[in-house]
């Protein structure tokens, strides 16, 4: 690289300005229109006639639909249980595995490749295949139970169990996500800090609690943040596994949203439901952050 070329000079002098520019430009170009459209739809009723669209401004009607929707309470309850359970398990397992694998003397690359296999499989295949694993008559779980002379389990057909069966699939699918982020964070930890602590005679547990976890905090927060958002948005697997049944036992907000926005073509109310979901995620994250702050001594 010629150090004194004029381009390099300009790039250097204006680095601060252009470094953010591509991201902002892309976001302005690709998100403003769809998001504005989403807001506009959420206060409208859209009907199709004469091969065209007729928009009417009906914010109150859409709100009334939301309030009267009898599926929403169950969907919200299930979604919260699902998100809290799945994300908590995934964070704990993902963090533990990241630390263990990072500590392995050899074969880290191979283990990491194996660990990310589940997120490589398309969700539609995951849903279809786990449905077979859970199959009452032929599934591998019930076959195993039968071999152990235990009674079969109604994994997806029982209202009390179905949601947990779905959580198990989600954990299998998404622990790799948490693992991948935290493994990278552990690998990027400054060596000398840990060395110093060890030389000072810290036990393993102290090293983990007092030194590693605080240093890993930014990565843990990001993993938690994005895992939570993605868990709220879970769709394909549950759609294929249970479609929200039996009854309302695995009905989730996104499944309901799909029915309203897509199956029933209610674009206005569907958009409002979609905004309500976003508001719920934001509220959940803020409450979560506050709870963590209060819990910390």
């Amino acid at each position: 690289m010629r150090e004194n070329s004029s381009l390099t000079l300009v790039l250097n002098r204006t680095f601060r300005h252009w470094s953010l520019l591509p991201a902002v430009a892309l976001f302005v170009a690709l998100t403003i229109y769809p998001v504005a459209n989403l807001f506009r739809m959420s206060v409208s009723t859209i009907e199709f006639a004469q091969a065209g669209e007729a928009w009417t401004f009906t914010p109150l009607r859409n709100l009334a639909l939301l309030r009267a929707d009898e599926v929403v309470p169950a969907a919200v309850r299930n979604t919260l249980i699902f998100v809290v359970a799945a994300v908590a398990i995934e964070m704990v397992l993902g963090l533990a595995l990241a630390i263990i694998v990072a500590g392995a003397a050899r074969g880290k690359g191979l283990i990491r490749t194996v660990m990310i296999l589940p997120i490589l499989v398309p969700p539609v295949a995951i849903g279809s295949i786990w449905k077979l694993l859970y199959n009452y008559d032929f599934g591998i779980f019930n076959q195993t139970l039968a071999a152990l002379h235990l009674p079969p389990v109604n994994w997806l057909g029982s209202t009390s169990l179905a949601l947990w069966s779905v959580v198990i699939v989600d954990v299998w699918h998404w622990v790799p996500f948490v693992f991948l982020i935290l493994f990278a964070a552990v690998e990027a930890l400054p060596v000398d800090v840990l060395e110093a602590a060890r030389v000072d005679g810290a036990t393993r547990w102290q090293l983990l609690r007092r030194v590693m976890l605080p240093l890993l905090r930014p990565a843990i927060v990001v993993a938690l943040l994005f895992r939570t958002i993605l868990a709220f948005k879970v769709f394909d697997e549950v759609f294929l596994l249970t479609s929200g049944g039996p009854g309302t036992s695995t009905e989730l907000v996104t499944l309901h949203l799909y029915k309203v926005f897509f199956d029933q073509n209610q674009l206005g109310y569907g958009s409002l439901l979609s905004l309500a979901l976003i508001a719920a995620i934001v509220a959940f994250l803020l409450v979560g952050r506050q709870a963590v702050r209060l819990a910390r001594p």
């Binding site: 390099t8 680095f15 470094s19 953010l20 591509p22 902002v24 892309l26 976001f27 690709l30 998001v35 459209n37 739809m41 630390i99 263990i100 694998v101 990072a102 500590g103 392995a104 003397a105 283990i111 490749t113 660990m115 990310i116 296999l117 589940p118 997120i119 490589l120 499989v121 398309p122 969700p123 539609v124 295949a125 279809s128 295949i129 786990w130 077979l132 032929f138 076959q143 299998w172 622990v175 982020i181 990278a184 964070a185 552990v186 990027a188 930890l189 060596v191 800090v193 060395e195 930014p218 990565a219 994005f226 958002i229 709220f232 948005k233 394909d236 926005f261 979609s274 979901l277 976003i278």
Partner: protein
């Protein structure tokens, strides 16, 4: 923290990773073995299913007579475009990953290091996060209309641009977390030594966040690789990607598990290879620059 810049920017030897101190022990080993088994169990099931006839999958037959017919159908079947689908996915996923890494890392660095007014930094970060929360199904209609108007419907460009947008929030936030872990003194020292800002970023800071770049890259690649609704809407048969092709096996009345399993296995292999290559590319490119 008063560590010298040079000590940290030196490449680490493989044996002294920090976590060696914490991980390990028989509990760790047992847990790891369990985790690998739990991950590989269903995966092994998919692998065996790919060698079974549908009826053997249905009845959970074991042992079974293996067949290669599913692979033959997926790869060479008269109706199958699967090889083309894999090529499409590889192009779209690699291009969008490369782009999102560049754009996202620059943005993350910029937000972390330069003193942007709060409305810019918080505004941008908040916007990306909220955008990430929007159910994708509500974005597809407007994107379809926009790309059709631009004459970009059914092109890889449309798919790459949307995938970069979808993956940008996670990349920015992740890379920002990695930049935050770095003490600012390192770079300041480099600047004092006469490095220009861009050079300091490229030669000093970036090599220190290689694990972060790799993790973000793998995630962006995977999310692009598996993205279904946008890929479905913005392309037709010729440019369909792997998840769209695999979803075709989930038919109205029956799911063709045998071929779906074979297709899943077939598509996993090039993806793993490409990710390994990409990783090597990042490490080589950045560490060579750092040693100088």
């Amino acid at each position: 923290m008063n560590t010298s810049a040079t000590a940290l920017s030196l490449p680490r030897s493989a044996t002294t990773t920090p976590a060696t101190a914490v991980g390990g022990g028989w509990i760790g080993t047992t847990l790891l073995a369990l985790a690998v088994a739990a991950v590989l169990g269903p995966f092994a099931w998919i692998l065996t299913a790919s060698f079974k006839y549908q009826i053997a999958i249905y009845s959970g037959e074991w042992p079974f007579t293996p067949t290669l017919s599913n692979y033959a159908e997926v790869l060479f079947g008269r109706r199958s475009d699967f090889v083309g689908n894999v090529v499409n996915s590889l192009i779209v996923a690699s291009a969008s990953t490369a782009l999102v890494l560049v754009v996202g890392t620059l943005a993350a660095y910029s937000l972390q290091r330069f003193r942007w007014p709060v409305w810019v930094s918080a505004g941008f970060l908040g916007w990306t996060l909220v955008f990430h929360m929007i159910p994708v199904m509500t974005l597809i209609g407007p994107w379809y209309v926009a790309f059709r108007e631009l004459g970009l419907y059914d092109t890889r460009i449309a798919l790459i641009l949307t995938h970069v947008t979808i993956n940008l929030p996670m990349t920015v936030w992740l890379m920002r977390a990695f930049f935050r872990e770095l003490p600012p003194e390192i770079e300041e020292a480099a600047l004092v030594d006469g490095c220009r800002p861009l050079e300091a970023f490229r030669r000093v800071t970036l090599p220190l966040v290689i694990p972060g770049l790799i993790a973000s890259g793998i995630l962006a690649f995977i999310f692009s690789w598996n993205e279904f609704p946008v890929a479905l809407s913005l392309t037709s048969r010729d440019l369909a990607t792997v998840p769209v092709a695999i979803a075709r096996f989930a038919q109205q009345y029956e799911i063709q598990h045998s071929q779906m399993a074979a297709a899943s296995i077939v598509s996993t292999i090039p993806a793993v290879i490409l990710m390994a290559l990409g990783q090597r590319f990042i490490v080589r490119g950045l560490t060579l620059g750092a040693v100088k």
